[in-house]
């Protein structure tokens, strides 16, 4: 294999660009990581400490922000008085459930669309993705009516179904691309080895694992971060974390400490999901046993 070395030569322009890119990265870091840091730190402060801020321009006074006595009271309160345990569970069930349903249905549909040729296939594919083109708000009212008459409002299955309607088209499109890259000859070989079509399909699932992993992340994120569906269709019986967090903003007293703690509770599981699935995202992308 030829070397992939990227050849770079020094030039004044390159030095300037390098300086600029470092500057950009610093701003980017402040912009993206600082809010998270403030969130985590504030979640451990009581209300008085939380508003100990340095004067504008007083960079030496930054230390004030970290001069506090850590307290876990907000977390305790969240899980005892505000029932965040239940909401956390609801969020997990709704997002993971929708991901599971979308993956199993989506991979089968994607496989069929990838392997079979039939009249109107392109139209069907376009129709599938076009269901994602309308903004969620546009279909919310009719969806609500349908869900209410089916008795699905305020239930977790209802929420799973709602997320699935939006995740499934996406799943089909992403996974179809991955199945397209798996040579059909592998399944033919499997059939000659003695597999049924269904066994052959299962055999190649590991080859699309990176696609499935990527899609699970996107799918879970959609459900986990969703506010609109959760507040309207999930309202009442199937309250999820974002909705519960929003309810902490009460007219008389905005509970900053608890809001920050709720933010941490909402963020941490997704970070773990990312770490867990990263392995699959990378692994397998370079597997090539068939000569192209």
């Amino acid at each position: 294999m030829a070397s992939r070395e990227i050849v770079r030569y020094r030039s004044p322009l390159r030095s300037v660009l390098q300086g600029l890119s470092i500057l950009f990265l610093i701003f980017f870091f402040v912009w993206t990581v600082l809010p998270l840091l403030i969130m985590v730190v504030s979640s451990f402060k009581d209300l008085l400490d939380a508003f100990q801020l340095p004067e504008v321009g007083d960079f030496g006074g930054v230390g004030v922000m970290f001069d506090f006595k850590p307290t876990g009271a907000h977390y305790v309160e969240l899980f005892t008085e505000k029932h965040f345990g239940v909401y956390l569970r609801n969020s997990l069930i709704a997002s993971l459930g929708s991901a599971a349903v979308s993956v199993s249905l989506g991979s089968m549909a994607a496989y069929a669309l990838s392997r079979a040729e039939f009249r109107g296939k392109r139209d069907l594919l376009f129709w599938i993705i076009s269901t994602r083109m309308a903004p969620v708000v546009a279909v919310m009212v009719p969806l609500y009516v349908i869900f209410r008459s089916s008795g699905l409002v305020g239930t977790l299955p209802g929420l799973i179904l709602a997320y699935t309607t939006f995740n499934l088209p996406f799943a089909i499109w992403i996974l179809k691309g991955f199945f397209d890259n798996v040579p059909y000859a592998i399944e033919e070989a499997a059939q000659c080895d003695g597999c049924t079509r269904w066994q052959a399909f299962r055999l190649i699932i590991p080859l699309v694992a990176p696609g499935i992993a990527a899609f699970i992340v996107l799918c879970v994120l959609f459900g986990w971060n969703d506010f609109l569906f959760a507040s309207i269709i999930g309202s009442g019986g199937a309250k999820t974390l974002p909705v519960a967090t929003a309810e902490l903003v009460q007219p008389v007293k905005i509970q900053w400490g608890m809001i920050m703690a709720a933010g941490v509770v909402t963020t941490v599981p997704m970070m773990f999901l990312g770490l867990l699935i990263r392995r699959y995202l990378v692994a397998g992308l370079t597997m090539g046993a068939v000569r192209e």
Binding site: P183, T196, M287, A289
Partner: protein, 364 residues
Amino acid sequence: MAAVTITDVWKYYGKTVAVKELNLEIKNNEFMCILGPSGCGKSSTLRMLAGLEFISSGDVYFDDVRVNDLPPRDRDIAMVFENYALYPHKTVYENMANPLKLRRTPKQEIERRVRRAAEILEIDPLLHRKPVELSGGQKQRTAIGRAIVREPKVFLFDEPIAHLDAKLRSHMRGELKYLQRSLETTTVYVTHDQLEGMSMADRIAVMHEGVLQQLGTPEEIYNRPYNEFVAGFVGEPPMNFLDCTLERTNTGVSVVHSGFRLALTERQADLLEKGGAEADVRIGTRPDNLAIEPGADGALEVPGEVFVTEPLGGDMIVEVTVGSDRVMAKTKIGPMGGPGEPCRIGFDVDKVHVFDKTTGVAYF
């Protein structure tokens, strides 16, 4: 181990005909090669035998069992694909064990058979590697290993060594032939490389545009081609074809070309009369059967002019302009004039073939 019978098989893709009325009987334990250029229907035929494609019409029998409606797994075949089609996420061992595992073979038996196949193919040190860590030849051996761990009724090979480099290919030809002889299993081998067919097969079926052209042993295919297509497809360098006219005189029959006149033997003349040959014919002669010598005043009967010489080490190919045509002659390497210089060539009349100009069918 089974005889394969193909009767009146057609294959259509939409309106395109891939295989036309194919009749072929493959004997038990025979090494049959289906040879033809790309798009001749040879792969479609093989895939119909495997059950990977439907048979549009006609029947395929393994021994006495009609297999038309059986899925691949119930036909008891093992196939090796052109692009190997290994399972990328499984090791060499797992790849080879898969067909046995699917048949619920006991674990020790799987282990024993995989090891044995790996030893035969000399890939036993690689059993724990994944396909991505293998070279082309090793991948191909693994694919063959996956086929030979079982004892299937029929081996199907779809251009298995087409992607290997030339040296490895010639090595694998010998190995495959040896393997087939020692395993004694009916084998159908599809290739576009006439050398593979000639060197390995018991019999060759030459196909062109979906139609079986000739079925015979390599010797028959080479020495008695049924038509111009078979004659031109088999042999390297390819046969020379020249448009000629027949001249019938009291003393016998000759073929006349712008560059020479060639008296045919009595046997050949009889065959032409029996075939009802018309005046316009095409003659064919293999480059090996053309003698050539440099210079204008040699003993050989036909004068020519060197066009180009291609030395091949021990032999060389000389392209010679004769009359209005160009022919190739293969000879031992030696002095030969440069382009434009005169030379003389001689035909081996016994080994000249004459074809009908319109149908391409050989008279002899």
